[in-house]
């Protein structure tokens, strides 16, 4: 097979100083499905953005069909026949499928006006050629995720893509949609297309790719034929050492109920139930894990408990006090802490200093204020203490948070949330996208706090994490409780997967344990 594309010695440094790629070599052959693998933060997306002309590398060369090329914008990449399906869809919701697809290559009538009919015909043609069915007149807003992805693939094909880059395409799909996607991809491969497939899901990679390149911390760990490498080997190369982060913990000694959820529901703007009649309880000294594919209502549940969203129905009790309608502040006053899912949006003020970020929950406490004036010295001292206690790697409390690495930013959030003597911690994806060291640190802290009697609700898309840390475990699927396991250590991973994907669902009486019945 011919090498259709190669990247040599690619180095990319972002303006905030983060090195995303360092001297990466990468090449693909015509007609293969090639995976790029790596943990969150390994530099996969950056490498692909460079290939698609969205980012410019500081160093390195790209050769395409034997010639050196400069890809300084997506349109150049598209002209060469490189197409990309982004993880977050690049669609304009209010426009129709046809309008979205011809965006940038609009057919014209009389050289001036936009030719709607021709656009529709173009879409029909390409969808027939590649056997991908779509309604050109539908408005994108109304379509399901799988359909949107199909539009993205067709969009690239319409533009004559020979190389198709797919950035974690299965992350947002249901199992059925994934299966369908894989069939389509193999069909496209048979038609001569080259496909680059970014993922960190081992099984998928084994199933569909021919070769794979592994990235770790921005560097390439080599290229392998998929059939010649074992899952264990891939995992070792991705993570670096054979660490399966095991957490040493004893059995939980649960106490009184701290958090009680009763028939809680949340309906979105379209009146669609996102959380449906959820009931469970969480006890002192217990970690209750919530497993589930992302987007099954976990985020809304967390936001309702912490006061950021108001419940549409049902009740929330924290330490026997009704908290359903309380403000964020009042809920925090009930000794509740919250590690938010997206640290850069909610967890920190990125342009603020570390010190400012560490005190946002307690800046108004009487101990830190004398009359009208804040006791700045005490606040600084507290910040320095927290920086030490949580080993936040920084130049001091006046450094801006956005100059830190992801792991250290998360430690800032964790330091603040764990240090306020919480009785209830809502931890939403507490270790997402951060380095192994910080992950280990945060997980151990969670267990430590549990041992001290804190009640912890752990939401995580990382199956290892929920299974390692949780004492009890529940699964959310489509906003409902699909399963509840009193003892998380006895849960089988495969079985859990079935509940997460909606293939199985427990009977209500089986889940009575969630309510302590």
């Amino acid at each position: 097979m011919d090498e259709i594309l190669s990247m040599k010695g690619i180095t990319k440094v972002y303006p905030n100083g983060i090195v995303a790629n360092k001297e990466v070599d990468f090449s693909v052959q015509k007609g293969e499905i090639h995976a790029i693998m790596g943990e969150n933060g390994a530099g996969k997306s950056t490498l692909m953005k460079i290939l698609f002309g969205m980012e410019q590398p500081e160093e390195g060369e790209i050769h395409y069909k034997g010639k050196k090329v400069t890809l300084n914008s997506p349109s150049v990449a598209i002209d060469y026949g490189i197409g990309m399906v982004h993880q977050h869809f690049m669609l304009v919701p209010s426009l129709t499928v046809a309008e979205n697809m011809v965006l940038g290559i609009e057919p014209k009538r009389n050289n001036v006006f936009f030719d709607f009919d021709k656009a529709v015909r173009m879409v029909e043609e390409v969808s027939k050629t590649y056997n991908l069915d779509i309604d050109p007149n539908a408005v994108v807003l109304d379509l399901a995720v799988g359909k949107k992805q199909k539009i993205e693939i067709l969009k690239a094909l319409l533009r004559g893509a020979e190389i198709l880059i797919l950035d974690e395409p299965t992350a947002v799909l249901t199992p059925q949609e994934t299966k369908e996607l894989f069939e389509e991809l193999i069909n496209l491969k048979n038609k001569g297309l080259t496909i680059i497939f970014i993922s960190h899901k081992l099984k998928e990679i084994k199933q569909i790719t021919d070769r794979l390149t592994i990235l770790r911390n921005g560097r390439s760990m080599g290229v392998y034929d998929t059939k010649d490498i074992s899952e264990q080997e891939i995992s070792r190369l991705m993570v670096g050492r054979d660490v399966i982060l095991t957490v040493n913990k004893t059995d939980a000694i649960p106490g009184d109920t701290v958090l009680k959820i009763e028939d809680l529901s949340f309906y979105d703007k379209g009146n669609k139930p996102v959380v449906k009649d959820l009931s469970f309880r969480l006890r002192k000294g217990e970690i209750l894990g919530i497993a589930g594919v992302e987007g099954n209502g976990q985020g809304e549940l967390v936001e309702m408990i912490t006061g950021l969203k108001k419940a549409s129905k049902g009740k929330i009790f924290i330490n026997d006090q009704e908290a359903t309608k309380l403000s964020v502040k009042n809920i925090r006053n009930l000794k509740t802490s919250h590690i938010p899912e997206d640290r850069m949006v909610y967890g920190v003020a990125a342009e603020g200093t570390i010190g400012e970020n560490l005190i946002s929950d307690r800046y108004d406490y009487p101990v830190y204020n004398t009359g009208l004036i804040q006791r700045v010295k005490d606040l600084v001292q507290k910040s320095n203490e927290l920086i030490d206690d949580y080993s936040i790697k920084c130049d001091g409390h006046t450094q801006q948070v956005n100059m830190l690495s992801g792991g250290n930013i998360q430690k800032v959030v964790v330091a603040r949330e764990f240090s306020s003597d919480p009785e209830l911690i809502i931890a939403d994806q507490p270790t997402r996208g951060i380095d192994v060291g910080s992950t280990e640190f945060i997980r151990n802290k969670l267990v430590e706090l549990r041992d001290e009697g804190t009640a912890i609700l752990l939401v995580s898309a990382d199956l290892n994490e929920v299974m390692e840390l949780s004492d009890s475990l529940m699964v959310m699927y489509e906003g409902e409780m699909a399963a509840y396991f009193e003892d998380a250590s006895k849960v089988d991973e495969m079985e859990l997967g079935m509940y997460m994907l909606g293939l199985k669902k427990m009977e209500v009486k089986e889940m009575g344990g969630a309510l302590g019945e």
Partner: protein
Amino acid sequence: MADLLDIIFSTSFGYAVLRVTTPILFATLGALISIKAGVVNISMEGTMLTAALTGVVVSAFTGSGMAGVVAAVLAGMLLGLMLAYFALNLKTDIILAAIAINLMASGGTVFALYVISGDRGISSSLASKVLPKIQIPIIHQIPVVGSVLSNHNILTYVALLSVIVVYVLIYKTPLGLRIRAVGENAHAADSVGISVIKTQYIALIMSGAFAGFGGAFMSMGYVSWFSTNMTAGRGFIALAAEALGMGRPFGVLLTSLLFGTADALANALQAFRIPSEFVQMVPYVVTILGLVIYAKRRQSMAQKHKSEDRV
């Protein structure tokens, strides 16, 4: 009160409404295009002012009103270009860059007028031209309608036609599709090779052009001279008119007419015993009321969603 109603229902009042709506409508259409592309242009005020001066100066020196209009529109486009350069290339906050343009225009026009003509504050020594009025054939003969709709300044008709032009541009051309795509999801546009910056440049330059027309009308139609800060907040009122018109070309025509009516009413009320200061306030108060109604409606729609949610 009866007198007031007499005035409001007179043909001359209808005529006046169209006349005072003209500059607001131009500015509103300009604001609309910029906002559709996701780059709000709040420099309409300063741009109109600059264009108003340019029109007066060029028409005085060339002896041609048309040349004045062309120059005014070019001046508007130039300021749109400048705003685009700072906001899009140098990444200046677009609001602050626009404030800078407004401040520059407010003092700079006085400076330029003095340097060019020696006049202070009002262009009394410049023999500037006024644009012609046009009698629309047939309609001119119709009694009431004719005296409201006909015999307006040519730019008033340009403004009304511009509503249609903007509609066609935004909804029926590839450029309009791109402008909407860029404004709604710039990443999406970028990912298919549409230059977001180029599209926003075009939108800002077009919005400057409309402000240019508005400015030309102010100094060569509404009145026949330039005076300091003569736009008196119309460029800002346009922002409110755009929001109230929900960003739709025919919607903003209605809201511009609403503000134009308030303005005309202010002029009409001066004949009565109402203190002139309050009369002067009318357009601004109406703008705030408009904002309140717009915000209320948006909020009640959200509320409705919520209460439905609770069913």
